[in-house]
C-alpha cells in the first residue's frame, strides 16, 4: 500500500553530508523505525513544501553504488529496484560531496538510469572556494540532465533555494527523456530486455541490476528467480566482470565532465588532515593516543553521569516513599512502587551513561577519528574474529554493555558483529563495581605490597583483566564455531577531519536514548514486575508464618521498630518464592561455596548486578539503606550454621567475585541483544555460555582454594 503522500528519498555516498541535510530539512520532525523485516534503521521525517503540502522524506543508508557490499546497501537496492515498495521514492534528492565529485557521481548516474527523477545537491561548496578551486555547474547539469544545486549544509549556504527547488520538483515530477548514461554490451542488452519483458520494470537498467542481484532481492518470487537464472546462465552473463566493466565505463564517461565542472587549483603539499594523521595514525604514537582518548572517555562517562544517575536513583526512591505513604496499603501499591516504579528506575538510571557515551562516540565519529581507530586495530581484532570497529564497542563496555552493543551496527560483516555483541558483556561494566567493592575486602586485606601497590587495587585490576581475557578467549571460540559469510573487508574511507556538527551529534544522542528507553524499557519493566512478584509472594501461607515468627522474635528480643521491620523483611524474603528458589538451587551452587542467601542475591541480580548490594542488605536485615559499611560488618560476622567458619572467607568471596565477572546478570543487556539480533536465539546462547563460564570459573576457584 502506497500512501498518497509524496515519497522523497535522500540518497548518496557515506560522508556526503546527507544526514546533515536530512537533519536540516526535517529538524525534530523525524523518527527512526526499521525497514520492514530487517534491523536497518529507517530515518524518516516530513517536510512542508511551498504549496502547503507535506511530503515524506527518508534518509536512506549511505550507498556507494547499485552493487552493494553491506546489508544496509542491499536494503537500498532492494527498494530502488521495486516500484511497488512502500518506500519507493517519487523523487530522489542526491547528495554529493563537491570535493569528491568523481566518486560520488557513480551512484548518481546509476540512479538516473534506474529511471528515478532527481535533484542533484552538490554539497560542501565552501571547501571548493576554500581550496581556491573554481566551480561551474553548467557542464554537470548538461551531462546529468537534472537540476544541480550547489549548497553548503555546514555553513547554511543556498539551503533556501534548495527548499524552493524541492517544492518545484515535487510539483511536476517527470522522468528523464535523455538517454541512458551507460551503453550496454550485447549480453547485457539481451538479458535486460528479456527480464524487462518478464517483470515490466521501469527501465532497462533496472532489469540489468535485477539480473545481477535476483538471488537476494525480496520482491522477485521463486518462479521469476528460476526464469532469470535460466536467462543469465544461457547467455553467459558474467556477474562480476560486467559490474566492473559498467563501473569503469561510467567513470570514463564522466571524468571529463568532472574536470570541466571543478577547475582544481594547485594543492598545498600537506593538508591539515595529513599533518594530523602523521601523529594520530603514527605507528607508535597512534595506539598510545587511542588508549589515552579511550581512558578519558571512560573517565568522563563515570564522572559526568554520576550526578544525574544519583539524582534519578534518589528521585525514584523519593517518589516511591511518597507513593507508599500517600496511597492506601495493598498489593497494587506495592506492585506500583516495588515492581513498576523500580523497573522504570532501573531503565532510566542508565540514560545518563548512554547519553554521555553516545555523545562522545558520535563526536569521534563526526570528526573522522573513528575510521582511524578502525584502521589501526583491524588486524588485532581480526585475530579474534572481530573487526577494527569492535575495538570501540569493547572499550565502551567498560562503562556499560548496552550502548556498546548498540554501537556495533557499524560493523558490516554479520559474523564479526555477532561475536562483538556476544563477548562485550564480559568486559567488567560499572554495575559490577559496587559488588566488587563489597566483596574484595573479604578476599585480601587493605595492605600495601612493595610499598606502591595496594593489594585490593591489584585484585580489582585482576578482576577487570579476567573479564578482558574471558571476552577474547570466548571470541576465539565463537570465531571457530560460527559460520562465516566471508563478507569481511576493511576498505574504509579516512575522511578529512572536520569539526563536528552539534545538531547531528545531539540528534544521534536523542535517537539512541529514546530507542533504549522504549525498546529495552518494555522488557526490563516486565522482568522487574516478575521479580517483584517472586519476592513478594510465597507458597501457601509461608509469608504469614514468617511474619508472625519475626514479630514474636522481635518481641522476645525487645527490638526497636526499625529493627523489627528489617527482621520481618529478612524473614519474608526467605519465605517468598524467590527464597524457596534460592534454597532449591543451593545444592547446585554449594560446590561454588555459595549458600542459599547468596543464591537469592544471584537470582535478584539478574535484574541488574548492583541489586546484589540491596538484596544482601535485606537478607541480613539491616534495612535496604544500601550502606556498604554496615553491610560489610554484618557479612564479616556471618558464620556457617553450627560452626565457627566465616561464610565470607577468601575462598567463597573470590568465587563469588569470579561469578560476577562472568555471569550474564543484566536483563537490559539481554533485551538489547534481542533487539539488535532480532531473535531470542542469541541472547539465550549468550546467557547460557556466560552462566557456564561463571559456574566453571567459580567452581575452579573455590575448589582450588579449599
Amino acid at each position: 500500500m502506497k500512501t498518497s503522500k509524496l515519497n522523497i528519498a535522500l540518497l548518496g555516498n557515506p560522508n556526503s553530508g546527507k544526514s546533515s541535510l536530512f537533519n536540516h530539512l526535517t529538524g525534530l520532525r523525524q523518527h527512526v523505525s526499521n525497514f520492514p523485516g530487517v534491523t536497518v534503521d529507517k530515518k524518516s521525517g516530513t517536510i512542508l513544501l511551498e504549496n502547503g503540502v507535506e511530503a515524506n522524506i527518508i534518509d536512506f543508508p549511505g550507498t556507494y553504488s547499485v552493487y552493494p557490499n553491506s546489508s544496509e546497501e542491499k536494503i537500498v537496492i532492494n527498494i530502488l529496484t521495486d516500484k511497488n515498495n512502500d518506500n519507493y521514492p517519487d523523487l530522489v534528492i542526491y547528495v554529493a560531496d563537491a570535493t569528491q565529485l568523481e566518486r560520488h557521481l557513480l551512484f548518481a548516474t546509476q540512479i538516473i538510469d534506474l529511471g528515478l527523477p532527481m535533484i542533484f545537491v552538490l554539497n560542501m561548496i565552501d571547501l571548493i572556494s576554500e581550496q581556491g578551486d573554481i566551480l561551474d555547474i553548467k557542464p554537470l547539469e548538461k551531462y546529468l540532465g537534472v537540476k544541480v544545486i550547489p549548497v553548503s549544509v555546514r555553513n547554511n549556504e543556498h539551503l533556501d533555494s534548495l527548499t524552493h527547488e524541492i517544492s518545484a520538483g515535487a510539483q511536476q515530477i517527470k522522468g528523464l527523456e535523455n538517454p541512458i548514461k551507460y551503453v550496454f554490451t550485447d549480453v547485457e542488452n539481451f538479458v535486460a530486455t528479456r527480464i524487462q519483458k518478464n517483470l515490466s520494470t521501469t527501465s532497462l537498467y533496472t532489469a540489468k541490476v535485477i539480473a545481477h542481484h535476483y538471488k537476494w532481492l525480496s520482491h522477485i518470487d521463486e518462479e521469476q528467480k528460476n526464469k532469470i537464472k535460466t536467462i543469465t546462465e544461457q547467455s553467459a552473463f558474467n556477474d562480476l566482470n560486467l559490474q566492473v566493466r559498467e563501473t569503469m565505463d561510467r567513470y570514463n564517461h564522466f571524468a571529463p565532465v568532472v574536470r570541466e565542472t571543478i577547475k582544481v587549483a594547485k594543492r598545498e603539499k600537506k593538508s591539515l588532515t595529513d599533518k594530523i594523521d602523521d601523529i594520530i595514525t603514527h605507528r607508535f604514537w597512534g595506539p598510545i593516543i587511542f588508549f589515552a582518548i579511550m581512558f578519558l572517555m571512560f573517565q568522563s562517562i563515570y564522572s559526568w553521569s554520576s550526578v544525574p544517575m544519583d539524582l534519578i536513583e534518589t528521585g525514584f526512591a523519593e517518589v516511591g516513599i511518597l507513593l507508599t505513604n500517600s496511597l492506601p496499603a495493598g498489593w497494587w501499591t506495592d506492585l506500583l512502587v516495588n515492581g513498576l516504579l523500580a523497573g522504570l528506575g532501573g531503565v532510566l538510571v542508565f540514560v545518563p551513561q548512554i547519553a554521555v557515551l553516545f555523545l562522545l562516540i558520535s563526536l569521534l565519529e563526526e570528526s573522522g577519528y573513528m575510521s582511524r581507530a578502525v584502521y589501526m586495530f583491524d588486524i588485532v581484532m581480526r585475530k579474534f574474529g572481530m573487526n577494527g570497529r569492535s575495538m570501540v564497542a569493547l572499550i565502551s563496555s567498560g562503562a556499560c554493555a548496552i550502548p556498546a552493543i548498540m554501537s556495533t551496527r557499524t560493523i558490516s560483516d554479520p559474523k564479526e558483529r555477532l561475536i562483538t555483541i556476544l563477548v562485550s558483556p564480559l568486559i567488567s561494566c560499572s554495575a559490577r563495581l559496587p559488588v566488587y567493592a563489597v566483596l574484595v575486602g573479604f578476599v585480601v586485606a587493605d595492605t600495601d605490597v612493595l610499598g606502591i601497590f595496594n593489594m585490593q587495587g591489584l585484585v580489582f585490576m585482576g578482576l577487570y583483566l579476567l573479564g578482558i581475557v574471558g571476552a577474547l578467549v570466548s571470541a576465539l571460540v565463537f570465531k571457530a564455531i560460527l559460520k562465516s559469510e566471508n563478507n569481511s573487508f576493511l576498505m574504509i574511507e579516512l575522511p578529512n577531519y572536520k569539526p563536528p556538527l552539534w545538531k547531528n551529534v545531539l540528534l544521534t544522542v536523542k535517537e539512541k536514548v529514546t530507542s533504549f528507553v522504549v525498546e529495552a524499557g518494555k522488557i526490563i519493566v516486565l522482568i522487574s514486575i516478575a521479580l517483584w512478584f517472586l519476592a513478594s509472594y510465597g507458597p501457601g501461607n509461608d509469608l504469614e508464618e514468617a511474619t508472625t515468627n519475626a514479630q514474636n522474635i522481635s518481641i522476645e528480643k525487645k527490638l526497636s521498630e526499625q529493627e523489627k521491620d528489617n527482621l520481618i523483611a529478612s524473614y519474608k524474603i526467605e519465605a517468598s518464592y524467590i527464597g524457596h528458589l534460592g534454597q532449591w538451587i543451593e545444592p547446585a551452587i554449594k560446590p561454588l561455596g555459595f549458600d542459599w542467601k547468596m543464591g537469592i542475591a544471584i537470582l535478584t541480580s539478574f535484574a541488574a548486578r548492583e541489586v546484589f548490594v540491596g538484596t544482601m542488605a535485606t537478607i541480613y536485615s539491616i534495612g535496604s539503606d544500601n550502606d556498604e559499611q554496615t553491610l560489610r560488618q554484618k557479612m564479616a560476622s556471618e558464620k556457617r550454621p553450627g560452626t565457627e567458619i566465616n561464610v565470607y572467607n577468601p575462598a567463597t568471596s573470590l568465587s563469588l567475585l569470579v561469578f560476577y565477572v562472568f555471569a550474564m546478570q543484566c536483563m537490559s543487556t539481554l533485551a538489547i541483544v534481542k533487539r539488535e539480533t532480532n531473535t531470542w536465539k542469541w541472547p539465550i546462547i549468550q546467557f547460557v555460555f556466560m552462566s557456564v563460564l561463571a559456574y566453571v570459573g567459580s567452581f575452579i576457584v573455590y575448589q582450588l582454594m579449599t
Binding site: 556507494y64 569528491q100 568523481e102 566492473v244 595514525t281 575510521s371 584502521y375 574511507e493
Partner: protein, 78 residues
C-alpha cells in the same frame, strides 16, 4: 604474471600510477572508493600492528587490508 608490481611494493612516501585491478570480490568496492586505473596512489604508512595500509589517492585517503592491496596492480614506470 609474477612480474606485476602491486601496491604492496611501495614503501611509505612512494607514489605510483595504478594500471589495473585484479578482478575479485573487492574490485567493485575499490572502484567505488576511487581506486581507478590511471589514478595516482601514494603509500602513506603501514598500520601500527600491520595487516593494513594507509593510502592516499587524488584528494582523499583510504585504509586497505593487505589482501585488498595485493589486487591493485601498478604501472611499471614511476
Amino acid at each position: 604474471m609474477s612480474s606485476e608490481r602491486t601496491l604492496l611494493s611501495l614503501l611509505p612516501g612512494e607514489s605510483a600510477f595504478i594500471e589495473k585491478l585484479d578482478v575479485g570480490i573487492s574490485t567493485c568496492k575499490l572502484l567505488n572508493l576511487g581506486v581507478l586505473p590511471k589514478a595516482k596512489v601514494t603509500m602513506v604508512r603501514k598500520a601500527p600492528f600491520g595487516g593494513a595500509y594507509y593510502i592516499k589517492l587524488d584528494g582523499h585517503q583510504l585504509a586497505v587490508r593487505t589482501e585488498e592491496a595485493a589486487t591493485i596492480i601498478l604501472e611499471n614506470q614511476i
